[in-house]
């Protein structure tokens, strides 16, 4: 066996790959489900917190800032471990999927809230005044005038952060979640061959590259001239 053959046999072993392809695919499906759940709930929760914060009720805002800062400081892995191994002693035992989802959604919520909030506060005061002076209410102004402008400012940082946190679905392996990485590494230990990991890596690229490209497209679409 030449060195090159040995390399192929080790990392791109077709027999091993064929055998574990179904496992990897089921990992892909689970990862997609998890990623969608995290993105939708995390962004929505972050947006709702930012909107509540803009109402400006002091004690509520302090609470929001506290929660957001906690989840921005904790490594996502630590959150997952705490939820999965810690919550059961509080009488609530979420599955591996729910633990990973909750944890990543909370982390995404925290970062998204800060990004939405920055967008809302950087919209000029005159926009509020013009809208309110024509009789729009606080919430009408927030939703029709301020938020569209704020969202445009937030798209770039928000997509970056969302992609980074969604890739954290791989952290679910620590709680034995059968997502791509979990499936790939158990296939590696069963086959004594790292080829499944290469499949896993390829699966991540296939999954996330379109998202990255779509993010670019959204950014360019929302870039109206000021």
């Amino acid at each position: 066996m030449s060195r090159w053959d040995r390399f192929l046999d080790t990392f791109f072993n077709l027999k091993v790959m064929a055998k574990y392809l179904p496992d990897i695919l089921s990992g892909v499906v689970l990862t997609i489900e998890l990623a969608l759940a995290v993105v939708i709930t995390g962004l929505l929760a972050g947006l709702i917190l930012a909107l509540i914060r803009s109402v400006g009720i002091r004690p509520i805002n302090w609470l929001i800032i506290f929660v957001v800062d906690v989840f921005r400081s904790l490594p996502p892995l630590v959150v997952i471990v705490l939820v999965y191994f810690g919550l059961p002693s509080a009488g609530f035992a979420p599955s591996a999927f729910v633990s990973t989802w909750m944890s990543l959604a909370l982390v995404l919520m925290a970062f998204a809230e800060e990004i939405f909030w920055a967008g809302i506060t950087s919209t000029p005061k005159g926009q509020w005044e013009a809208s309110r002076s024509t009789g729009l209410s606080f919430s009408q102004t927030l939703l029709s005038v301020i938020l569209p402008q704020a969202l445009r400012l937030t798209i770039a940082p928000l997509t970056n952060r969302t992609i980074a946190i969604t890739k954290g679905t791989a952290l679910g392996t620590v709680v034995a979640l059968h997502e791509i990485l979990g499936m790939a590494s158990s296939a590696v230990s069963n086959s004594y061959n790292p080829s499944p990991l290469m499949m896993g890596a390829a699966a991540y690229i296939v999954l996330f590259l379109p998202v990255v490209v779509a993010a670019r497209w959204i950014e360019s679409r929302f870039a109206w001239k000021r």
Partner: protein, 245 residues
């Protein structure tokens, strides 16, 4: 006839700063009141108190028989009757000119999109910008933007219009187009309160000039009297300063 705007004993504090120190201002229907005064004298704050963008510390404000400071007043409804035009236009950058004009028609006046579009186009027509309905603010000149802002207000058929230095942010060659729109508004019988440095406009169009200094109305009267023979030393000094520019 009772005044359409009646502000009595308006005080406004910003923390320890006493910005309005008991201003009384009555404006009759169809009157154009022109407000002048040094920077920081409280002109903008007074205008902003009239539609309650700023909450007066004390005093009373009645506009078109509505007690603006009563907690029972629906302030959003009342604000439809008081148009406001800002120095910096404050158009919504994510909407077209027509979108800017129709937003409050739909959300506040409860018009359908079709009705709002008709009224919005009519308002743009009045400021001479019917052909710019589908342009975004960034595609319009400063003068055009300010005229769209005026259209946004008049589309709601307000009883009073407040102008806070509407031409101060404009290049000199664009000032005329905005003043022309303001003059035609005046000819249509609109009640207007205008804070501005455009003394030529004041002479030509104002019924009354009000001079403010340090949070008080120092002197008021017809333009000729205030500009030619002011009774107060402070007024004379101020008029002298702006005429030298």
């Amino acid at each position: 006839m009772p005044p359409i705007v009646s502000a009595k004993a308006i005080h406004k504090h910003f923390g320890t700063l006493h910005v309005l120190k008991g201003v009384d201002l009555d404006v009759a229907e169809r009157e154009l009141v022109f407000v002048i005064g040094p920077s920081g004298s409280g002109k903008s704050t007074l205008l902003r108190c009239l539609n309650r963008l700023e909450e007066p510390t004390s005093g009373s404000i009645v506009v078109d028989s509505i007690d603006m400071l009563s907690p029972r007043t629906d302030i959003n409804h009342a604000r439809q009757r008081i148009g406001m035009v800002f120095q910096s236009f404050n158009l919504y950058p994510h909407m077209t000119a027509l979108g800017n004009v129709t937003l409050a028609l739909r959300k506040v006046a409860g018009k359908s999109r079709a009705e709002a579009d008709v009224l919005g186009r009519a308002a743009l027509e009045r400021v001479g910008l019917a052909d710019r309905a589908h342009h975004r603010p960034a595609e319009l000149s400063g003068g055009q933007q300010q005229r769209v802002a005026i259209a946004r207000s008049i589309a709601l058929e307000p009883r009073v219009m407040l102008f806070d230095e509407p031409t101060s942010a404009l290049d000199p060659e664009l000032v005329g187009s905005v003043l022309a729109v303001m003059r035609s508004l005046r000819e249509s019988g609109m009640t207007m309160i205008v804070v501005s440095h455009e003394m030529g406009f004041a002479r030509a169009a104002a019924d009354r000039v009000v001079f403010m200094d340090h949070g008080l109305i120092v002197e008021q009267g017809p333009p000729a009297q205030i500009f030619e023979s002011p009774g107060q030393e402070r007024t004379r000094t101020f008029i002298g300063q702006i005429q030298r520019h």
